[in-house]
Symmetry: C2
Subunit: 419 residues, 2 copies
């Protein structure tokens, strides 16, 4: 097994190649990577079968499903890489031009980050997605897959490196950490001088460890306790559609709604309709009903589970919705300030002043007026791709696309100016 | 003495006021702060005299000079605040607009960071500069001054808070930490949930401690080992002017040149002229000559100090210049990759291809063609102000202005869209 230090050294060596990565070379590399995935799908599927067999009984059936590959899934991964090739090149974009009275011409130019490390878990497609995005952003990448998916990741990386080589690029642009123990994650967190950016994509434990210990620059992709507030001036039909979609279209993801706030003036009308749609009708249709965890005022209107002390601070990721009746827009904004993870929060209202105030005062990465929180996603935002959703305030906030995987530099051109 | 926790709680309380800070209110607050500084100059000067007396014999005469205030310096601080009031408001700037096929209208809008903490040293004007920039950026600030300047900082903050109050704003928008021991710096580094951004402005020790220990988001203002490379195709008169300016106009600052690289084809012509200008002529003029620390090839051409092992990796901040003769543009780029702190590096050349390659391959915050590195500065870049110079790659790189003191949020407006 190669040590993590050896692999970091390989990636560092690739840094000096980055300045020569033209758009054409990067796209040729990406297309060759995509082709190689399909060509080597037998090897990838064989490795994946080993991962799946080893994981049975160790991880949950849902996680096994995330881990498992098929020809279709590999074809989707290859198409994902081709889609990245089709995106505009973020490197070289001139973000600002300043002409100074002394004749200096200053440009702020998007530039490659250098080496980007990604620590992730068991979905094999993250291996190809992350590598493709880093290459398009002009950076080398160091991938550290979860243990359960490591054989799959090895086979995928081998195919992608073969593709790079065939396109005349260095294999070292994509490196996979071989040690899947905690030690290699620690090494990446402290790889100062080797890693220019570390992106953790995983659970709260990983994120917390990185916040506390990492010395390299990081972008955190956080959890989502997302709120929908149904205002006094809401179209209640629209509100019901949005709440239903935000909660039930995919409860396991970070942009799903966890908490519903309802203005007291519409609670009597809205809550029975909510219960009808999310509980009664879903049961009748043989679908999993939503468990409503109700504060006292909501419980006085409809039946449901009494909300416990932690229910307004929990990312359920399940068919559970905490419901609270509030006295005013101010009370809703205050509740969100105190309980939101500042990922995605929505207001449903026909009152443009209430909407404007909500947008101004709610301090979250994505603030919605009359739309489902489920749209917080790079693809849905038109970025063409996504490396995760940042809930921090520095550098990237919300869906991270290619732009956020770049840094910038100032280029100053003169004719002998001195100060 | 109020505890650091009490002061952080005060600043956190000010966060809910930020959404109401219109441009007009912020500018009225800034102008009142500036007026209050002048009105309370006697109290400020008295506090400053105490600081200066206590510091005599403890810190160097240069540091005493930085610490000492006068009516003129207070008037300059007040004018600095007025200049910030005159800058455009960075909050609310729409950085991107995305129209989606489903009718969603998405805007990326610049927003206040929240609470910004600044740890700095003994220059009292940082107290007013930092407070003014944070307020204009829509944030509350928590200032932690160096111990030597603490009485001055207290008097300055008291005046500014009086100004805020007179303008109808909350005093809590500007808070000063009262404990000047190491404990309060540690507390700020770990003030998760209270501090949205921590900016250390100080020496390498402070920066290192923050890199290793801080759990709150930080922007590092790093050291500058800046290079000037004199290419084979350089106008040697221009090169001499630039090297002289970059080295001697203000050696104590981070954008001063520390290392000169000279292409071998012009070394015989350039180095004697360099010695004449930086050593002989300065001596004859009664000015401090520059000590040239020469690699072997440079030492074969002109007399000087032989360069030691660390001389190409030292931020001298003094009248010292390390000099190396290189074989090629590639060798210069390689030397910079290995030894630069990636702050500011320059090429002097008449060859546009050499310039383009240098700009592409040198991975520094500011890359210069035919100009002095001394221009890396918010004011010189036309940003109107500066909170420091970032040498990191995330969020801010190079001079940090008001834009970099803001975060952004996505505002998504729909008409009932669901996914």
């Amino acid at each position: 097994m190669r040590t993590t230090q050896e692999i970091l050294t390989e990636a560092l060596g690739a840094k000096r190649l980055l300045a020569d990565l033209t758009t054409e070379k990067k796209n040729a590399g990406l297309l060759a990577m995509a082709d190689a995935l399909t060509e080597q799908q037998d090897e990838i599927l064989a490795a994946n079968r080993q991962d799946v067999e080893a994981a049975r009984g160790v991880i949950s059936p849902v996680m096994i499903d995330r881990l498992q590959l098929s020809e279709k899934r590999i074809a989707d991964m290859a198409d994902g890489i081709r889609a990245v090739a089709a995106l505009p090149d973020p490197v070289g974009e001139v973000r600002a031009v300043i002409e100074r009275p002394n004749g200096l011409h200053i440009e702020q130019v998007a530039s490659p980050m250098g080496v980007i490390a990604i620590i992730y878990e068991s979905r094999p497609n993250v291996t190809s997605d992350a590598a493709a995005l880093c290459l398009k952003a002009g950076s080398a990448c160091v991938l550290r897959s979860g243990k359960e998916a490591h054989r799959s990741a090895e086979a995928i990386v081998e195919a992608m490196r073969d593709g790079l080589q065939r396109a005349g690029l260095s294999k070292s642009l994509i490196c996979l950490i071989e040690d899947t123990s905690r030690a290699s994650a620690d090494a990446l967190m402290h790889a100062d001088g080797y890693v220019d950016l570390l992106i953790p994509r995983g659970g709260a434990g990983l994120i917390r460890a990185i916040t506390e210990h990492a010395t390299v620059p990081c972008i955190q992709t956080g959890t989502g306790i997302c709120h929908v507030y149904v205002d006094a001036a809401a179209d209640l039909q629209m509100a019901l559609r949005i709440v239903d979609n935000a909660k039930t279209s995919r409860p396991s993801v970070c942009n799903a709604e966890e908490v519903l706030l309802v203005h007291r003036d519409v609670a009597d009308a809205f809550l029975p309709a909510l219960r009808e749609a999310l509980v009664t009708r879903r049961k009748a249709q043989g679908r999993e009903p939503v468990e409503l965890r109700l504060d006292e005022r909501a419980a006085a209107i409809i039946p449901g589970t009494p909300a416990g002390a932690r229910d307004f601070d929990t990312e359920f990721l399940d068919y559970i919705l905490a419901v609270r009746v509030v006295d005013s827009l101010s009370a809703a904004i205050r509740h969100i300030a105190e309980h939101s993870t500042h990922h995605s929060d929505a207001i449903v209202t026909g009152d443009s002043e209430a909407a404007a105030r909500f947008v101004r005062e709610v301090d979250s990465a994505a603030v919605y007026v009359n739309a489902s929180t489920r749209f917080t996603d790079g693809g849905e935002f038109g970025l063409g791709c996504e490396m995760g959703i940042s809930t921090q305030k520095l550098h990237a906030r919300g869906p991270m696309g290619l732009r956020e995987l770049c840094t910038c530099k100032y280029v100053i051109t003169g004719s002998g100016q001195i100060r």
